[in-house]
């Protein structure tokens, strides 16, 4: 059993001095789990998240996690997570692409059950046809179930969001699951610099009695409880009961914004706020966007970046304010449907300014030149030759 000292969450996440390591995204996620005082982790293989759960398994074998097993399939894994969390444990699991969709019945019901858990979503192409390569269309399936959805740009974000995710999800006025999404392979299997907290420090254990719902452990009343009975209007239930329940979930989702501000420094990051042309991106498209801003600034073009960290709750007010004077808004994405562009368009009055692209999908990388094409278009600059990659 390794020696770890419990430290207050704020202390650990915000103030503890960190060490610099050069690790993959999968390692970053596992390192966060190691420091998060997790009780139960349940695994099921699917590329590319298997790496994360392998490492979490190793951590269990070393004694940092109290229980771990491989389930029979994702629906079983996610249901077991629901059972474990209701029993009062802190849990973690990860999945990708078709695995997320297979487990979605259970995952989509977690918010309604008030299950605080962190789910790693390491995105990959959704069938058909099958491919194991990166594509984050699966995030669009998560957007309407009520859980908090965070999108990590790089390995550092993966570590930070996962560690903070446990704290955010267990806040009494939130108490819904947090999905930490990032691109498979581009982030999970590539190495980057991560400032991580010391291994000897861990988060305080979960207190299941400091919660908006009682845990099912026969230690807290009421005894005669079905915490979340089937509810539908009848002579013994109000016609409003399901509606107000859903409202509670979405209220909790909104309340999470306060903690995203506190632990993650806000739901968006803005580079060059005075720009006329903005690149709005999330996940590793934001890393490419950052590069594009650098290129543009080298050429004297006033381009800014809005990196969106939190997809749910979506930072409508902040995005609207930053983009209020933008004449063009470029939204590069790693999916065909353009879910981020839709979110942006929905919250600003000048949605015509949004250029829904460039988009790459099916495992393609996003070259900076592709973004620069749109930047030049936005400024009306004609380049003599087309980009060939």
């Amino acid at each position: 059993m390794p020696e770890q000292r419990v430290v207050d969450a704020d202390e650990l996440i915000l103030r503890t001095e960190r060490q610099r390591k050069f690790i993959t995204g999968a390692q970053a996620m596992a390192e966060a789990v190691k420091r998060a005082n997790v009780d139960v982790a349940i695994a099921y293989p699917i590329t590319p998240q298997s790496e994360v759960m392998h490492l979490v398994g190793d951590i269990w074998a070393q004694g940092y996690i109290r229980d771990y097993y491989r389930a029979e399939e994702e629906y079983g894994a996610m249901s077991a997570i629901a059972g474990a969390v209701r029993g009062g444990a802190r849990a973690f699991s990860a999945t990708s692409g078709p695995g997320l969709l297979r487990g979605l019945e259970a995952i989509a019901s977690w918010p309604g059950h008030r299950i605080p858990v962190v789910l790693g979503v390491l995105t990959r192409v959704v069938n058909a046809p099958l491919s194991i390569q990166p594509d984050n269309v699966e995030i669009s399936y998560l957007l309407n179930c009520g859980m908090v959805v965070l999108h990590a740009e790089n390995q550092q974000d993966v570590f930070d969001f996962t560690l903070a995710g446990f704290v955010i999800s267990e806040k009494v006025d939130v108490y819904i699951p947090v999905a930490v999404c990032t691109e498979g392979f581009f982030v999970t299997h590539a190495k980057g610099y991560v400032n991580i907290t010391p291994e000897e420090l861990k988060l305080p254990p979960r207190d299941p009695y400091k919660a908006p719902v009682p845990p099912t452990d026969c230690e807290i009343p009421p005894a005669r409880i079905q915490r979340d009975a089937p509810v539908q209007k009848s002579n013994f239930m109000s016609y409003l009961i399901h509606a107000v329940w859903q409202q509670e979930i979405w209220s909790s989702n909104k309340r999470a914004m306060r903690y995203i501000n506190h632990y993650l420094g806000g739901p968006i990051e803005v580079v060059n706020p005075g720009a006329e042309v903005f690149i709005v991106a999330s996940g590793c498209a934001a890393a490419q966007g950052r590069e594009a801003v650098r290129y543009a600034n080298m050429e004297g073009l006033n381009v800014g970046l809005v990196k969106v960290k939190s997809i749910r709750p979506f930072p409508e007010k902040q995005v609207r304010e930053v983009l209020s004077n933008a004449k063009a808004i470029i939204v590069p994405e790693h999916n065909i449907v353009g879910w981020l562009a839709k979110e942006v368009k929905a919250c600003i009055p000048n949605s015509d300014a949004v250029i829904g692209g460039p988009r790459v999908y099916g495992g393609m990388t996003l070259p900076v030149e592709l973004i620069m094409e749109r930047v030049y278009d936005a400024f009306g600059i004609k380049k003599s030759k087309k980009v060939v990659v």
Partner: protein, 237 residues
Amino acid sequence: MPAEILPGPSGYIPIPAVFEDVELSPPGYGLFFGQIVDELTAMREAAKAMLTRRNPTIFPGPKILWGWNAHAMEEAKAILELAAEIPNCRIIPMPDYRPKYPKIDPEAEINPNHPNLTILHNKIEACIFVGVHCHYANLSLRMIRAGTNCFTIALCGELGHEDAMVSIRDLTPEKIRRFREVLIQVREELGISHTPTPPPENPSLPKEEFQTLSVLDYGEYSYLLIPRKDEQVTDTE
């Protein structure tokens, strides 16, 4: 600007306070009509409501009804002391959260699946929720705000409730006792005289003894309980 969360009825479906930018208060503060105010103001407004509106009722929830630890029992005692100071106060418990079949007795209990049954039946215009887990309290508060004109007060052990007219957070037995003192003071300011009396007991508790109960007490239903030998009961209601 957070909206004002006033007593209802607000309509067919309530808009949650959080959707209208109401935020929970920081420690040491409370909420009054959705606005952040200091705790004393919140307590005074709550006291005023309980003293001036009809049929004030306290709804204790499972966290204090059941004596699962010393803290719960201490809070229970403090709530009973508070109830004695409110004229015409009743206590209607919320003993659990599951939907009760076929229907609750609205004079005997309140349930988060259908709280407006109890509010409307008893014509309650001011109520205090205490010892209820936050999720179920929020459901109840919204349903009450949608369909009744009841003034709701939430005494919360955690962070408070945006959908109540008054929300007080970080509840402890000491805070309940402080609220009681504020209430006594407001009562004197309003010129209401009252000697502390415990609220009336639950109307469902029987006056009769089981030992003297006989089959004949069930009237026409007695044959359903004990069918005669070889009798097949085929009639249904």
